[in-house]
């Protein structure tokens, strides 16, 4: 079989020259065996346009830096094989996050801000004893925490979320999922009212309108629908008691 000739339509935008409106630029590339978008984009940059901006670090779906809209769908470029895509491939950066140029966005600032606002760390009065044996956690709890903690903060759930697209303060599925991780953790001594202060509002769980684009597009398959419903029910009970 002859290799396909792929046509990439890539969004070009440079925030340093804001007068130039974003445009879709076209690149032609011959498909290769086992080609991922990581390989394709690097080839385009090496052979056709060295100014093309995009992010990759681990190229193995672990670091979460290559989230982008691939034919409109938010997902990881490094794990996307060109053979699963049509001949015409459109690539756009993730919305919501600060656009650094072309396909590159700054997810870090957004996630740090959400972590601070949701106080995403263990709250405890216990003083750390470096020499004491670590407290045990039962296996089921540990697995539950691990399940939601697999989040790599790629931002695909945020880019795909209509609410996050129009409400800058909305913490989205990634934010709610992160808080749910501490709700499960017995080491965190916060009570439900303290959690309610953090996520029991329109900026938190009650801002979610249930479109589930997050759940449908999470590249590593975190059960976001279940986590959102879990936090929603817990926060409804907590809020009701106020």
């Amino acid at each position: 079989m002859n290799p396909r000739q792929l046509t990439f339509h890539i969004l070009r935008y440079n925030p340093d020259t804001p007068k130039q409106a974003p445009t879709m630029q076209t690149f032609e590339l011959q498909e290769e065996m086992g080609m991922t978008l990581f390989i394709a984009l690097n080839k385009i940059r090496e052979e056709q346009d060295p100014s093309l901006k995009f992010d990759f670090v681990c190229r193995a779906g672990i670091c979460g830096s290559c989230g982008m809209l691939i034919n409109g769908r938010p997902t990881l470029a490094c794990r996307t094989l060109t053979k699963d895509l049509p001949r015409d491939i459109s690539l756009m950066p993730l919305p919501v996050f600060k656009l650094l140029g072309d396909l590159s966005v700054d997810t870090g600032t957004w996630f740090r801000d959400v972590s601070l606002r949701t106080e995403a760390w263990i709250h405890t009065e216990k003083v750390f004893e470096p020499k004491a044996q670590e407290e045990r956690m039962d296996n089921e709890t540990a697995l539950n925490i691990y399940e939601v903690e697999r989040c790599i903060e790629c931002g695909c759930c945020i880019g795909g979320c209509a609410t996050a697209n129009i409400k800058p303060d909305f913490i989205g599925a990634a934010g709610v999922n992160r808080v749910s991780r501490f709700m499960i953790d017995p080491r965190d001594e916060r009570d439900e009212q303290q959690y309610f202060d953090v996520v029991g509002s329109e900026d938190g769980i009650f801002g979610c309108i249930g479109l589930m684009a997050c759940d449908d597009n999470c590249p590593i398959g975190i059960p976001l629908q279940g986590q959102l419903a879990y936090v929603r029910r817990k926060m409804a009970v907590a809020g009701w008691k106020r």
Binding site: L69, G72, R73, P74, M92, P95, G160, A162, N165, I166, F196, D197, G200, S201, E202, F206, G207, C208, I209, G210, L211, M212, A213, D216, N217, Q225, G226, L228, A229, R232, R233, M235, A236, G239, W240, R242
Partner: protein, 211 residues
Amino acid sequence: MQLQRTLTRSRKADLMTELVQTVSGLLLVGFLWTHMLFVGSILLGVEAFNRLAQFMEQFRLLDVAVVFIILTAGAHVAAVFRRIPGRWQEQKIVWKHAKTIKHADTWSWLFQAVTGSAMLVLIIIHVFIVVYAGINAKLSADRVHSWMLGFYIVLLLLAEYHASVGLYRALVKWGVVKRKSLKKVLTFITVCTIGLGLVSLWLFLSLGDSV
């Protein structure tokens, strides 16, 4: 925390609005489906339909239903209004977003907002007519025999779609449900209720001048 936020700390309001939206929505779905079953009593004949209508008027159930629909629909509209993107730029963003990510449940939300807004007008007209004219088979047959047939078909389709998508979203948001099977069940129910509504309309249409 900023001053204005510390001074106005009623964090419960967001939860309460959400609860009003959900509960009123669920009640309205129940109302709609019951309503369609009652209208469907025409399948059992003019006699059955008129008797049910008389029964409802006799025990003031019609008044109860009208008060219920005004209060519940009013609460629902007030609560869901905040969800509709108010600024022109936000409108542009959500429509463009839906077109870009090609995600079925995102589209259905936009249709939910559109059908809801359209229904607000149609329901007001519908309730006014019923309150002023009352209910019996002849009135319905006469109405269906005019330009209002189109009105009822549109209202039927919009209401069933809106109710179905709304119920789907409420269950997805609050409970652990498998979305695929829930969609199947709700599509089945919606097709049935729309079918029942259309058959009822057709029966009224064929009754014509005979009642």
